[in-house]
């Protein structure tokens, strides 16, 4: 079990994503949703990458998903597990797997959302996942 946790850089918000990071501060993971084609997307943005409509908004994710792929970077201190997690809501997103035995991760493993604080105390947390 890795005890040391890396310090997450604080993400910078911009007019395109400020609603996403404001929701993150309240513990909600939002994903992009297109009102025109109905498809979800990640990361959220001002146009639908599937159909091209700008009629997009945010919907809350259940925060549940499974590991699509992962890798533990060993040559840094502390080692950490980067991953793509496929949300039960649809999209696959880049994240870190935390609070886990880094030697016991597997593709398909069920995980759940747990926001991690970032370097700037006043900044937004980032959506990370732990084994469900």
């Amino acid at each position: 079990m890795s005890v040391k946790q890396r310090i997450f850089p604080t993400p910078e918000s911009d007019p395109d994503t400020e609603a996403f990071w404001a929701a993150a501060k309240t513990g909600k993971l939002m994903i992009g949703s297109c009102k025109s084609c109905g498809e979800k997307h990640y990361y959220p943005r001002g146009m639908c990458p599937h159909c091209g409509s700008s009629d997009v908004g945010l919907v809350q994710s259940s925060g549940k998903g499974q590991i699509y792929s992962y890798s533990v970077l060993r040559r840094v201190d502390p080692p950490y597990a980067i991953a793509y997690v496929t949300l039960d809501d649809g999209p696959t997103m880049m994240t870190n797997i935390i609070e886990a035995d880094l030697d016991a991760l597997s593709i398909g493993q069920k995980v759940e959302l747990k926001f991690s604080p970032t370097a700037d105390e006043d900044g937004a947390p980032v959506p990370t996942f732990k084994p469900a």
Partner: protein, 389 residues
Amino acid sequence: MSINGKAYIAGVYEHPTRKAVDKSLAQLHAESALGALADAGLSKNDVDGYFCAGDVPGLGALSMIDYMGLNLRHIDTTESGGSSYLMHVGHAAEAIALGKCSVALITLAGRPRAEGMATGTAPRNYGSSSPDVAFEFPFGPTVVNMYAMCAMRHMHEYGTTSEQLAWIKVAASHHAQHNEHAMLRNVVTVEEVVSSPMISDPLHRLDCCVISDGGGAIIVTSPEIAKSLKRPLVKVLGVGEAPKGQMGGKVDLTYSGARFSGATAFEEGKVKPSDMKYASIYDSFTITVLIQLEDLGFCEKGKGGAFVSDGNLIAGTGKLPFNTDGGGLCNNHPANRGGLTKVVEAVRQLRGEAHPAVQVANCDLALAHGTGGSLGTRHGASTVIMERE
């Protein structure tokens, strides 16, 4: 309309340096340019088109054009990481076919070793205005862990093994032993690759390419000019380029843009993968080679592990000799961008100028393929097919 037969590669040069503490970046570009011009039998005043990517110093191409004193009528600064230079070959052929230039110069150079860059294991930040950065950079995406995730997924879906990936490095090392400029000239075994230190699961140190300074250049000309020179004729038969990204969250790490760039290039060249006598395949990591070989059609998707095993990529014994200079895995990965040198070794093979120990007999058709950016996030793919006339 097609560029098939409309342009020739008349000159190539690979800078011999692998650690350039005594050279500036501009100097490396210029020395590479002069090397390729000398190889072609041309001078810098013959150049009327210049192609470069983000590794040049200054604003776009302007500083290097001024440094070299070029008088141009065509400029192209297409930036797509390590695949840029293969795109430049295609764009040069297009410009030449349209009469926009007749002697195109492409340069690449960089000094990551001299500058002490942590190429593989430090997260790269393309700036907060890049729309993906806030959603990725906090999680520590590096060059190596992004490709490692591709390898992990490939192993999961298709049963690919570390031993199979290791064969790619083994083949590259067999070639590099004959290259006096190669950074790593020792022949390695599968066992040595899989027992080298784990960098980012499942990629070991010997699954990773070298970090090197250096550079290179390519001269593409019109058919008339190429035929007026004294060098063997290498014709551009077909080119293709394609981007691939995360597709709005429909992430699929098992294939690359080579699926599309390769198909386009083969169609334009009116040839097929089995016609190729030699292939230069971008090799930032062993997994990069395996995924691209599948996507280019050299074997079925998912069968890359079996295809690369048992020395099948080694010149003289394998069915598809690849990266006979030792590639990025053993020879050189200048500026952390290996695309240009892929064209250089393919041209050497087509001219019969590769090292005799790795020269492919009757090498009349060759492919060079590059990937730029990251297979794990977003990348450009570019394929160039060439024929010795």
